[in-house]
Every structure is written in structure tokens, then in C-alpha cells.
């Protein structure tokens, strides 16, 4: 078994493009769910809006990339308003239903034959829409070390992606420790009490939904640019639930949780896959037990098992406080 290769693959994934995408998606969810208590089950919708805004506007409408990115942010704000206006006055569970449905509607529209010309139907859009971005790449040679290995384009995405993650995280950190963040946390605990103290709860929930949605669209930008393509089925409900997994793994309502959760999630996923592959290849695991083609599915089972164990023995996540978790909000 080639342990150097396994380590290289695993560490590269732990700091790689997918980790960045899911960290950003989970930072947005942390604002919604962790701090404000909004059950947004449609984060994939915000990613889709970000990704498709970039791809469609550049490929079909010849927007410059920077304008397409700005339009993507604008569109995610529109989506947040559309979701929030009818539902934020209602109980939390309605928001969950509306958001999960809205994300599916967006995916179905993206893959519909009607808009095939602009959105590419079920094949999505592939093109050089990231050209403006990759033209700026100073690391054309990529990186090849025993632990980390990226090609030129990936290295550029990883470097800019992590810079983006840390800028977003810094702003989040400033926001949640401010009086504004205190109102959000109070809303999570009990809306009525916050209303009785003179705060406009609806306004704060809307602001939280918009900010978390914008961060979600950032994840969509990274998703689209890193692959130079968008495919509608990448933005299904599984994406939202992986983002929740990442968030809860790290510990909800903790600023650094999304990063830690995402790194661990992707490290485990790739590490288990590579270990199984090598073990099957070298004959340590007999072919009749696990075939090479089954490794991809089995890694998810094992990661799922690992997450179950984590939730049993450390339900508060990596950064969470078990005592705080034990305080029932309605005790």
C-alpha cells in the first residue's frame, strides 16, 4: 500500500476545493441555523443561484466575470427576499418546508428543457467562463509535495478560496460578537421575548437570511469556477445536508466550526476511499467482500458511521460546549 499517496490525496482534499465550497456553504448556514435558529434546508438553492449566475451570464450573455459575480450576489439577495417575505412571520418549520422546496424548484428550472438555451438543461453549462479568473493565476506550475498536490488551476482556486473563507469568517466573527449578533442569538432562543423588548424580529431574520444566502452564493462561485462547469444535479438536497453535516460536526453557533467540520469531513471521505482502494488493490480485502466499484458507496457508509459515533459521544461537535447544548431552549 502506498501510504505516501494516501496521505497526499487525503491532505490535499482536506485543504482542497470541496472543503472550501462546503466551508462557505456551512458558514452561511451557521448564520441562519446556528445563530438565528432559521431552519434553512435550501442552502443548495443559494449555491445554485451563485453558480448559475456566473456560468449563464458569462457564457450566454457575455458579461465580464466581475459583473457576473456582482449579479450573483444580487440574485442571492433576491432569492433570500423571496423566501423570507412570506415565511419569516411564520413558525420556523414553515421556513424549512419552503426553502427545501425552493431549492428543488431552482434545480428543476435549471435542468428543464424550456431554458435549455441559457441554462443548458440537465447537462448544465461547460465553458471557459472562468478565463478572467484563471488568467490572473501566478501559480501556473501547481504544487507537488509529499503531502499536498494541486495542479495550477486548483492551486489558484485553493489560495483565493481560503483567502475568501478567512475574509468571510472575519466579517462573521465581527458580526456575531456585536449587539446585532446578540439580537440574532436572542431570536434563536425566544422571538416573543425579543419583540417585547422593542426589537423588530422580522427585520433581523431577513438580514440573517440575506447574509447567509450571500455567503452561500460565494460557495456557488467557487463551485462553478473551480470546475469551469455547472451541472444542475450537483445542487440537490444532498448538498444542503452535507453542509449541515459539516456545520454540526464542527459545532453550530461557533465561528470556526464550518472550517473544522469541512476539513474533517473531506479528509475522512478521501482517506477512507483511498485506504479501501489500496487495500482492495493490494488484496488485503478480498474481491468478494468489497469490489473496487463499491468503494465509492462504502466510504459514505463508513463516514456516516463515524458521524453517528461522533454525535453519540460528542453531540456538541468539535468546538461546541456540551453544557450549553444540554440547556434545553424551552426548559
Amino acid at each position: 500500500m502506498d501510504f505516501i499517496f494516501i496521505a497526499q490525496q487525503s491532505f490535499s482534499a482536506a485543504l482542497g476545493v470541496n472543503t472550501i465550497i462546503f466551508a462557505l456553504a456551512a458558514i452561511g448556514l451557521n448564520m441562519h441555523f446556528g445563530y438565528t435558529g432559521l431552519l434553512n434546508f435550501g442552502q443548495a438553492g443559494f449555491l445554485a443561484v451563485g453558480a448559475y449566475s456566473v456560468a449563464t451570464l458569462v457564457v450566454s450573455f457575455n458579461f465580464p466575470l466581475w459583473a457576473a459575480l456582482l449579479a450573483g450576489i444580487f440574485n442571492s439577495i433576491i432569492l433570500a427576499l423571496l423566501l423570507g417575505l412570506p415565511t419569516l412571520r411564520l413558525r420556523a418549520d414553515y421556513l424549512a418546508i419552503v426553502t427545501i422546496a425552493a431549492a428543488e424548484i431552482i434545480r428543476q428550472i435549471a435542468r428543464s428543457a424550456t431554458f435549455n438555451k441559457y441554462l443548458g438543461g440537465s447537462d448544465g453549462i461547460t465553458g471557459k467562463f472562468g478565463k478572467d479568473f484563471f488568467d490572473l493565476n501566478p501559480f501556473k506550475d501547481g504544487l507537488d509535495t509529499p503531502f499536498l498536490r494541486y495542479n495550477g488551476n486548483d492551486l489558484w482556486v485553493v489560495v483565493t478560496g481560503w483567502a475568501l473563507v478567512f475574509v468571510v469568517l472575519f466579517v462573521m466573527w465581527l458580526l456575531v460578537r456585536s449587539p446585532w449578533g446578540r439580537v440574532l442569538k436572542a431570536i434563536r432562543e425566544d422571538e416573543e421575548a425579543v419583540r417585547s423588548l422593542g426589537k423588530n424580529v422580522y427585520l433581523y431574520k431577513m438580514q440573517s437570511l440575506i447574509i447567509g444566502g450571500i455567503v452561500g452564493s460565494f460557495a456557488g462561485f467557487v463551485y462553478a469556477l473551480s470546475r469551469q462547469s455547472v451541472q444542475p444535479d450537483n445542487y440537490g438536497t444532498a448538498l444542503t445536508f452535507f453542509a449541515y453535516t459539516v456545520l454540526i460536526l464542527g459545532g453550530a453557533a461557533r465561528v470556526f466550526a464550518p472550517i473544522a467540520g469541512s476539513i474533517i469531513f473531506w479528509f475522512l471521505l478521501v482517506f477512507i476511499e483511498q485506504m479501501l482502494r489500496e487495500a482492495v488493490g493490494a488484496g488485503y480485502i478480498p474481491e468478494w467482500l468489497i469490489g473496487v466499484n463499491q468503494v465509492g458507496q462504502i466510504r459514505f457508509m463508513l463516514v456516516g458511521l463515524g458521524l453517528m459515533l461522533l454525535m453519540i459521544f460528542r453531540p456538541q461537535g468539535i468546538f461546541g460546549d456540551r453544557k450549553e447544548l444540554a440547556l434545553d431552549a424551552r426548559a
Binding site: V171, L174, L175, S178, P179, W180, G181, R182, V183, K185, A186, R188, E189, D190, E192, A193, V194, R195, S196, L197, G198, K199, N200, V201, Q207, I211, K323, E324, L327, D328, A329, A331
Partner: protein
Amino acid sequence: MPAPSQSNSRRDIALAALAGITPTPGVSKPDPIIVADNVLRKFGGLTAVNVGHLEIQRGAITALIGPNGAGKTTFFNLLTGFDQVDEGSWTFNGIKISGTPPHKVARMGMVRTFQLTKALYRLTVIDNMLLAATKQKGESILRAALPFLWNAQEKAATARSEELLTRFKLIDKRDDFAAALSGGQRKLLEMARALMVEPELVMLDEPMAGVNPALKQSLLGHIKDLREEGMTVLFVEHDMDMVRDISDWVIVMAQGEIVAEGPPNVVMRDKAVIDAYLGAHHDSTLEQDRG
């Protein structure tokens, strides 16, 4: 805190103002802070609240009593904007506020507490207090990420919170989660938090429910202090001893309507009240008092 020599002054003013008033339902008061007219709230076929005319005297402690299901809490919810009326209107300080959303009612100086205490459990005690401070610059999303714009205000609010926590004997719990407080301490926290809003009218929904006798005395003291500081207090309560002890005026509701109002000693002898609500219990409470 006011000096002991003054401690009766506001009470005397309130009692003097209410002295000559005929104790009949809907009677007008010399200086009302709230005037309500024809307030009607129905839940399906049930008329929960049907109040013809009601005035609450400024600077006094007014108790709202009545049997279970009399509509006291519903009336509270209506006045503070937490529930919508079917008909009727009311004014606060002469300004019509019926139909105003609850957060705006609170900003105008009318702050309530809840029957089931709403401490914000996974916030610390000090954060519970700071949340309630008014006109905070840092609560705007545009300024939140720029701490130098709101640090000074936050410090001032912290100082005021600590002062109130000291007065309510919660300062030792400053950095504990509110969930770690006892039921009675949560009631104290909720009252202290309401004071951070600097209200003119404090509305307490069953402040004594589930509070042990020792804490009850201190809560009573705090409520009297509110009056001495010039606030008006309206409270819902089942504890008759407390009502007799601290209220300057008592309003009795039964089946959604106001059946009597007047000074506590007068109301408690009122035939309508005894019929509607107190019945045998009234006598037994008096027994205990004599003993």
C-alpha cells in the same frame, strides 16, 4: 433606590389621586396612561375579551385579577400588540396604539413580561440585560462590524445592566447562562431586563407564579420600587395576599368583561367579585391572615 423617608410618597400621591373615585367598572381616572374603548377579541365562538371602557391611572400599581379563563392574559396580549383585536381601540399617553406591532409598543415605553418566563436560556445573564438596552447603534447591520462606533455605548449599557443586576441580587450570576437560574431568579431577571428598556408602564403577567415565599417578598419590594421611581405598573396575579399588599387599584375580569374595579379592600367586598371569582376562597384567605 429612594431613601426610606420618601418611600411612601408616590404611593400617597397615587392613593390620593384615586381616593374620590366611585368604584364602578369603566370609571374615569384623573390622569390615565391607558384608555381602552370597546375592546373585543373572539376565538371562534368564545368571546375572550369584551371590555367596554377602561382607564389605567398613571403612577399607580393596578392589579388585574379574575378566575382562570377570564381573559386577563389575552387582554395583556392585545394591549401590547402580541394579539390582534376584532374591534376596539386604545391609547397610551394619548396616542392611539391599537394595531401597533409589539416591538413598537415596547419602544414607546410599554414593556411586558410573560406568564411563562421568557429568559433567553443560552444567553448569559448580562447578555439578557444588554439585549434590552434601547437605541443601540451596534444593533444596526451597517454598524455591527465596526465596534469603534458602538463600544462606548456598550460600556454604558453594561454599567447600567450591572447596576440593575446588583439591585436584583443577580450580579453573582452575571456570566452564567440564564438557563442556570432558578425559576424565581428568572422572574427577577425578566423584570430587571424589562427595566433596561426604561419603560413608563411595566406590565407583569403573573410575577409571583412559581416563586418561593422568600423571593416573593423581595419581588414585592421591587415592584413597589418601580412605582417610587415614577413608573406605572399593571399586573395580572392570582395571589390575593400580594394583590392586597401592593396594589393601589384592582380591576376584576370575569368571562372577558370587567365586573368590578376599585381600591383592593372595596373590591374584595364587592358582591359581583365574590360571586364571579373569590367565593369560598376569599374567606379562607382571610382566616389565614387573622391567624
